[in-house]
């Protein structure tokens, strides 16, 4: 028995060693036999090209959320297809918290040989700046942030987009659908990105329904599905009959469906999750930025320090309308507004706009244009009810 135990211990050790060896990196000289086009020209290891570039991503959740990360990952997949990248050229770090875990993930990606790293959540920015200092040869691109330009670091870049334009379009669907003229909005945190989003949503609804009002409640987290569902129910109990959202899961959509009201989503087409409630969603096409940034890096050009495009360039849009339940005429109204934004200089935050305290924040005839890619709009407009302590 004693011998047997020793033997077993030795065998297990041996197995462990082989397992570790087996998990190690594959022979770099080996190329994918399924892809003959790549195997013919051997890669020059000294020069960066699409064949040897490594791209890292840090996400705050994973694509299961059907939300922000899902949408961003769709962009990654589209980029991979367009640039013909292999699976092992892309490393994803999912479910990374906005704390030390983010720094660890960034350092791991850097050590794994990534040439460019995309950090996709707002709270990652401080860690990106910290890690980027230590790796001046690696490009760091941070979505929704605002500090790259002022950081003095050449390898840090911000990107976002005019998602408020898509929000405005999705608000039109909500404004036409509501019967109680009361919209509800499940928001994540009282930040400019969120406030700019729901203000645009509200303005979209108001453009087709002047009587509309909106109630906003905050979950306090980008992703807390249980609270998102409870908050949606609280809004429905207050009489809201179309629920909008700026949070990461489908919970508001399914809560709306169960209560027999309607929903406008964010980040993904939620018709599959809530076929009887989801009218449409404001969505991103991140691949436009990803492809541009990777191409520029390979070509040896500078990646813009702050990048933000919108509806005109196809970076954001609304997902296909749920034709069975949208109010008649929704498609036409959305098309009309889209034309206005694509073909003219008209933009969402056009005056006169009055805030809850009665101040005119944008004068008639003037338009507020975001100075950088990250939204800075924090005015709470008349007709929007927010939790009193967030008014400041």
């Amino acid at each position: 028995m004693q011998h047997f135990k020793k033997l077993l211990a030795i065998l297990l050790c041996a197995l462990f060693v082989f397992a570790v060896v087996g998990c190690g990196p594959k022979d770099p000289g080996k190329t994918d036999p399924a892809d003959p086009s790549k195997s013919e020209d051997p890669v020059d290891p000294g020069k960066l090209s699409l064949a040897n570039i490594k791209i890292g991503f840090v996400h705050v959740t994973d694509p299961n959320d059907m939300g922000y990360t899902y949408n961003h990952d769709l962009g990654t997949q589209k980029m991979q297809k367009e640039l013909g990248l292999k699976d092992d050229q892309i490393i994803n770090k999912f479910n990374t918290n906005e704390d030390q875990a983010c720094e660890n993930a960034l350092r791991e990606l850097a050590e794994q040989g990534c040439h460019i790293i995309f950090a996709t959540s707002f709270g990652f920015e401080d860690y990106v700046l910290k890690v980027a200092k230590d790796y001046p040869n690696i490009q760091f691109c941070h979505a929704t942030g605002y500090q790259a330009a002022g950081s003095g670091l050449k390898n840090v870049h911000n990107y976002f987009g005019k998602i408020y334009q898509a929000r405005y379009l999705s608000g039109i669907a909500a404004g036409l659908k509501t019967k109680t003229n009361k919209l509800g909005y499940v928001a994540a945190k009282p930040f400019a990105e969120v406030i700019s989003g729901y203000t645009a949503f509200y303005l979209g609804a108001k453009s087709v329904n002047p009587d509309v009002t909106m109630v906003v409640k905050y979950t306090g987290e980008w992703h807390d599905p249980t609270v998102e569902a409870q908050l949606a129910q609280a809004l429905i109990d207050e009489g809201c009959d179309v629920i909008g959202q700026h949070c990461d899961s489908t919970a508001p959509a399914t809560a709306a469906e169960a209560a027999g009201v309607f929903h406008v989503g964010y980040n993904s087409d939620m018709r599959g999750a809530a076929p009887k409630a989801s009218l449409t969603s404001a969505i991103w096409d991140w691949s436009r930025y990803l492809v541009m940034a990777v191409n520029k890096l390979v070509a040896g050009e500078e990646i813009p320090v702050d990048w933000g495009e919108g509806l005109k360039e196809g970076v954001c849009d609304v997902s296909p309308l749920n034709d069975d339940i949208v109010a008649p005429g929704t498609a036409d109204k959305i098309e009309e507004a889209r034309k206005k934004m694509v073909e003219t200089d008209w933009d969402v935050f056009t005056g006169p706009l009055v805030d809850v305290k009665g101040n005119e924040v944008v004068k008639a005839g003037e338009t507020f244009i975001e100075p950088a890619s990250a939204p800075s709009w924090t005015h709470i407009l008349e007709g929007i009810t927010v939790p009193p302590e967030t008014l400041g």
Partner: protein
Amino acid sequence: MNVLTIIINWINAAILAGTPLLLATNGEILTEKSGNLNLGVEGQMYMGAVTGLAAAWLTERWFGVGGIIPLIAAVVFAFLMGCISGLIYSVLTVTLRANQNVTGLTLAIFGTGFGKFFGEVLSNEAGGYVTVGAETKHVFGNINFGNLTEIPVIGTLFFRYNWLVYFSIIVAVILGWFLNKTRKGLSLRAVGESPATADSAGINVTRYKYAATTIGGGLCGLAGMYMSMVNQKGIWVTDCVSGYGWLAIALVIFSTWSPLRAIYSSIIFGGLSVMYMRVPIPGLPRDIYMMFPYIATIIVLILTSIRQIKEHAQPASTGLNYYREER
């Protein structure tokens, strides 16, 4: 909207938020009554959550039926998976006598990983994300009581819930009756208070510990299923358990180890946790609201320790493993 409506709706939301807590709390009470301090409730709930959803989804897919059959599958398999997690805990602490705190915490981490991993596998299998059909969503939704729901006040207070709300209250009542009114319940409490005494009275300590922890785990599994099937309406969302397992452990203390007191304390706890969404107090930040359930727990802890009622205390041997040889 008048104040009464706000309060009635708040109570309704409190009961809905309290239901998974009630199930998990009762599971943990049953476990602790046998002298096992299982801190792994969060993990057990994740295991139940993903198993329940997988069972419902696969039943729909393989047999092409929606509604009641996927519901039964979800309940049975979530319960079984919870039982398995309880068994893992029992084998480690009762048979192998591993430290209970460490084992519980490990189970919490393991179960969370288990849930997230298989949730991911399911999503990949489904090609994107998992969602059950409308019929199955419907049977997990509110029961149709017809005109009863329309009665003012009473309709909202009593008849706007899914079946698990009523089920969890029945479970709590049965558990209270079992612990306080039956011979086996008495034996179980004896095992939790003083296993050596119970052993010398001819009670099989190991068997009681195993049975209570396993069934307690099953209840936690059902609580997890509530999170995925009712709260998320049959869609896999990572983080769907949202820390409710940890809340349940606090709630065991809050309800002073009594399944019947757990009924109202889970409703109070649920009510305090959704309060900020519904009862605005001007000037009070959300973060203070979020503390309410925990402040209440601390107050209950202080009160019970001042009053020194033996029946309201933690079973004396909780957290300690029983070594028969050391009697």
